[in-house]
Symmetry: C2
Subunit: 324 residues, 2 copies
């Protein structure tokens, strides 16, 4: 867990300035066929077209460039099953510093390849949180590298908020903004932006039913920390972070849970009609809108397509064998 | 075959003005990972994001809106295995006139669904050119509708040229422009634009090896008309049209043939790195660049991603059963 103070909206503004030379300003995509299906005006923020194939580059880039030179020179370190690891590797390469990524066994092959392609050193570990944290602690002691937590780090949260900032700049009148929630970096960053820029806009979190700790945490007011995720959404298996939970509770964020069947159906719609290869985690936002149509009917809805690093071998649709 | 005079560059300019209120100005996409793979600067004109999911809307829209009111009122008619049919249906719906589409059995399901969704009347026929033409002739007699040929019609060719016009407006310094060739509507329209706007730019046609009649026609100077296409590229099975062949011969267009394995590999790269679900026909352009890297090395290359109407059930990649 991060020991830094929780981020504020000013930190998101600073992040936007800091990452501007490095990150892509992603487009907003629309498709009338999907609007007709949803009965709402859908505006997709295409973060799968972000560098590294996911919004994660925003937070990682902000954290890397926020470091003082002397500290940065000792490199950065994280544990990640995928997109954050790749994002940190890319961001570190951009600053010319070393990146070390502890990767649990079973990570998506495509994401592992991205981490390696960006020049990071990969450290495999057992697929448990305890093993991840032990490996990170050992590397911190050995290398003096700075740990950049995937979603609890204040600079990471602030960086992720810049996606919503861009979307609201283009579309200030959104009624609802839907983002996926796993560890809650994107969700918390988005909440900071909505509170400051669009308090009328409802924040809806799309969460896999098989990893619904955020829904349960917000419902009871107590953060759930012990659960075993069961979902195809490999990017949303983390439990909600401590600062993230506090920010989301204060923002009165709402959660819509979706099962993997709904997510796969939504992913298929995005591939078919939006012509975008979005990964399962990113498709949860459309799944949430289609799961509760009355909630969104006739409204202007923003949706963050969070990533597109699909393992085509494992995830695609196949009539021959019935996959999908 | 069309009996109208062959189109000229002025017709492309007129088409651009005519379709502007109806067609999308599609984006140009780039991806450093694909540039690295090709050793060239690749600029993808995203026609799979065009209305109807393919560049075909440009030509169909131009042809529909070029009709005099009295003639338009009797409706339009075509035979098409897919994207042209859907495009004509959409264009006719936009003008509020009837569209009739003769569809050979075995057409891609997704494309058939698009034709129906746009409100056209579908007339099934046997999957031979003779059966298509007989069905069209019968409907013409019965309805008085105007036949809009998928690729030999002068207004269709002129309309397809507008994609290259937009691309060169954004990137006037392209060294090479690669487009797929089937019947040759896009290829011929592009040739007209290059001759007028960018005579330094080489036109390369990507053609499936299993339907390489254009390559053989241009090599011998005599249009090949009898062949049986064998390719996964359902949009490129038509033989090169008569006016199309004349335009391409005059333009000294070059052809790179690619086998289906190369096309599937290129399609996979586009899905994985560009995050765009491009159909096989549209992936031939990247396949051509990767098949002959020396030809494109270090150059500024435009590529028209011609369509994205993939039948996900039939085409996707699956590790479980080995598809792809």
């Amino acid at each position: 867990m991060s020991s830094s103070p929780p981020p504020r909206f000013d930190d998101v503004l600073a992040a936007a300035a800091r990452i501007a030379p490095h990150a892509r300003m992603t487009p907003v995509l629309c498709e009338p066929a999907l609007d007709a299906l949803a009965g709402a005006a859908l505006h997709f923020k295409a973060e799968h077209l972000q560098r590294g194939g996911a919004f994660k580059f925003r937070g990682a880039c902000n954290a890397v460039w926020a470091l003082q030179d002397a500290r940065a020179a000792r490199g950065v370190l994280t544990h990640s099953s995928g997109n954050h690891g790749a994002a940190l590797a890319l961001a570190a390469a951009g600053r010319g510093i070393a990146a070390h990524v502890v990767v649990p066994q079973g990570a998506v092959r495509t994401k592992l390849a991205l981490i390696e392609a960006a020049g990071a050193t990969v450290h495999p570990c057992a697929p448990t949180l305890a093993a991840r944290e032990a490996a990170c602690a050992a590397l911190q002691r050995e290398l003096g590298a700075t740990l950049i937590h995937p979603y609890e780090d204040a600079q990471v949260i602030a960086g992720q908020g810049t996606a919503a900032l861009e979307l609201l700049h283009a579309l200030p009148d959104l009624d609802v903004l839907v983002v996926p929630v796993g560890g809650g970096g994107l969700a918390a960053g988005t909440a900071l932006v909505l509170a400051a820029c669009a308090p009328h806009c409802v924040l809806v979190l799309a969460e896999p039913a098989g990893a619904d700790d955020t829904a349960r945490s917000l419902a009871t007011g107590t953060r759930v920390t012990a659960f075993t995720p069961q979902t195809v959404c490999d990017g949303l298996r983390a439990g909600i972070g401590a600062p993230n939970f506090e920010i989301l509770r204060a923002a009165r964020a709402e959660v819509v849970t979706v099962d993997d069947g709904q997510t796969r159906a939504a992913m298929r719609l995005l591939w078919q009609y939006l012509k975008q290869t979005v990964e399962p985690s990113g498709a949860t936002v459309l799944a949430a809108v289609l799961a509760q149509p009355a909630r969104f009917a006739g409204r202007r809805v923003g949706l963050v397509l969070s990533g597109g690093n699909v393992d085509l071998d494992a995830i695609a649709f196949c009539a021959r064998c019935g996959t999908g």
